[in-house]
Amino acid sequence: MEKENNEEGFVLVARKPCFGLPTACPSSLPVYIYLRFANVPFDLRFNLLHPDSDQIPYVESGAYVAYNNEKCGVIESLKEDGIVDLDSGVPSQTIPEWLSTKAMITSWLGEAVLYELWVGSDGSAADKIYFSDLPWPIGTILHFKQTLGAKQVLGITKLNAERREDEIYRRATMAYEALSTMLGEQKFFVENKSTSLDAVFLGHTLFTLHALPDTSVLRSKLLKHSNLVRYSENLKMEFLEVGSSSSSVSQPPFEPSSSSTPRRTPSSWRSNPKPKPKKEKTEEEKTFRRRAKYFLATQLVAVVIFLSILGGSDEVDVEDDNDLDYDA
């Protein structure tokens, strides 16, 4: 009768896959890539119900869990708990630069992604990643709540919105330039060896290039640095697309290319943002609308029948003469 967790392998619980990515959440993707870099066998599972949780992504194995909101993130938890540490080989003299680069990516570029995802776009990417599996009223309210939360985190108000936007993109531009200079034509940032810095930055670039729309300013800024784009594509081909021997998906797999958001290839990328395309209704939305109409029509018919049957049983003849007198 007792349920014991006999699964000792690692399981990464992340947000759903979209846009041709194994997980489309900008917080979950670096963890996925880190585990792939480390060649750790793991299962990938998706949490579709908790878009506003800061615990996700998390890695679990048996009764062990490393949450995203503990110990500076899942990657740091895995390092501290002795599970997997890619950073042990970072030369001590490069640690200050390495750390500050990582901090720049997580802060400046992280803010830029946060801005584009929740504030600076039509919200369709966020809808697809976080709310598409929730019932409509819940998804709508949570999206609104998350947008307000993002504005609070970014310190955006009605008065300073333009200034903050400018500041965010300026910092992103500076960060890309610095990273492009630092990377050059190397395979990784540190001595041809993957570290958590690569996991974090690769997660950022893959998200920016594949999940953000063509009209994205951040995406256009990244596309200006061809070595960063090559870095992203090469590592994606090597670690994310060449077999899935070290990871298996136990829940909805990657989206097929026939999905409503086709995968992007490098040849289709442009550095100049295109005008935003007209949004078309997906098959799911059409089906949902049709079902909603049928449901409402059925309810209306049921109410009419209910009223006519029960109202008719209580019907009495109202006489014209004054049978009822009222005294105050």
């Binding site: 009768m1 967790n5 619980v13 869990v65 929730l134 019932p135 819940i138 009222y326």
Partner: protein
Amino acid sequence: MPDSVSENQNPQTENDNTVEEEEVNLRVHDIIIKGNKKTKDSLLETEVESLKTATTMQELLEAAALVKSRLQNLDIFDSVNITIDSGPLELPATCNVTIEVVENKNPVGGNIGMYSKPEARSYSLEGTAKLKNVFGYGDIWDSTWAYGWEQASDISVGVYLPRFKRLSNPIMARISLLSQDWLKISSYKERMLGLSVGLLSTRHHDLAYNLTWRNLTDPSQMSSRSVRKQLGHSLLSSLKYKFTIDRRDSPQRPTRGYAFVSSTQVGGFSPDSRSLRFLRQEFDLRFAFPLGFYNAALNFGVSVGAILPWGRGFMNLPSPISERFFLGGNSSPVCTLGGLTTLLGFKSRGVGPTEQRRAMIDISGNSAKCTGRDVLGGDLACSAFADLSFNLPLKVLRDAGVHGHIFASTGNLTKLTENEFQNFSFRKFGESFRSSIGAGIIIPFNFFRMEINYCYIRKQFEHDRGKTGIQFSFSSPL
């Protein structure tokens, strides 16, 4: 509530028995309603319509008694008086009916009490405030709050309409915000914002629709894997139908009769396939037999329930943890009709499948500290009890309604979903029933009912939370 039905008899009628034995033909000429300042005429007109159909005095008296009862049940009048007078002289065999109502002087009412509920973990303080007849339609608005000592419980606002236009069926609607803290037992907190609408409510049938936004969180971040998979937001759109027959002579201390409750809940009544989809069924059967001495009675009861998800791939899906069955708690099984929850002697949610919680690794990374287990509930539950109640020898105790009882209870839970039904066998299920026996005293008060029981745990399994000893429980007297 002072009220009366009186008549001015025909002075030519000499013997009261004549009225009772012979049919006196008459018809109602006029119905006069007095005293309603706020209450809408349409409501009262509809309630008294049945008087006009009376053709004899006997029928009129019966109809008058029924009208009086229905007006009293509206709970918006301090008193209801019905007087029958003879009609105009030029219209023989007619009568006039005068209905005098006194509306509530104070439309505000309420009560407060302390109870232990099977679904909560501990005792809770509950209060209700009512506002009656605000718009004159017999509408009753109530605001209810309940607070448990270790968790905030719920706040709700509801409205009851005895009639809506031509609909004779009362309509009830309630919006509630409920918060349940199961962190210590199952490592999750539950918050629900819901709307429930009573579609049909008669003596035997209840049909209600419920739309609830439910959010499960784990602020402690210690939950087991099964609970972690359930955390998040969900939409519950369900229809619940309850069929009740209660032929017992008393719901609080039945000494004869039987009761049967069948409760069916279907979740997923929504065009959105992403809402919770499940089918939940419960049966509850009770019998009471008088023994003929010391007002003693033997009560038996058996309850069975099951929940299964439905939809594509349902065999691999778990049932929603909030809808599963949990056994345990100190509420009286005799008084709790419908609802598979109580198992005396065991703590709330103290029986059934459990799972290890998250293990904390120490700094050296070598050892993991075990942090307890989460109670997961079951998809199939069964419980039964036998209770012998009797008066106590002292007259003062008998007069106060204090009585004793000896009881035995048993119950079990198991999981069926996520392909666990393949491992299910009735023999194993039967062999794993938990049981307890005990004796106690029941003390009824005006505002609550207290039980003091000594329970002895006859059979429990590892990880169950049964405890032999004295236990208290409080419940509503209603």
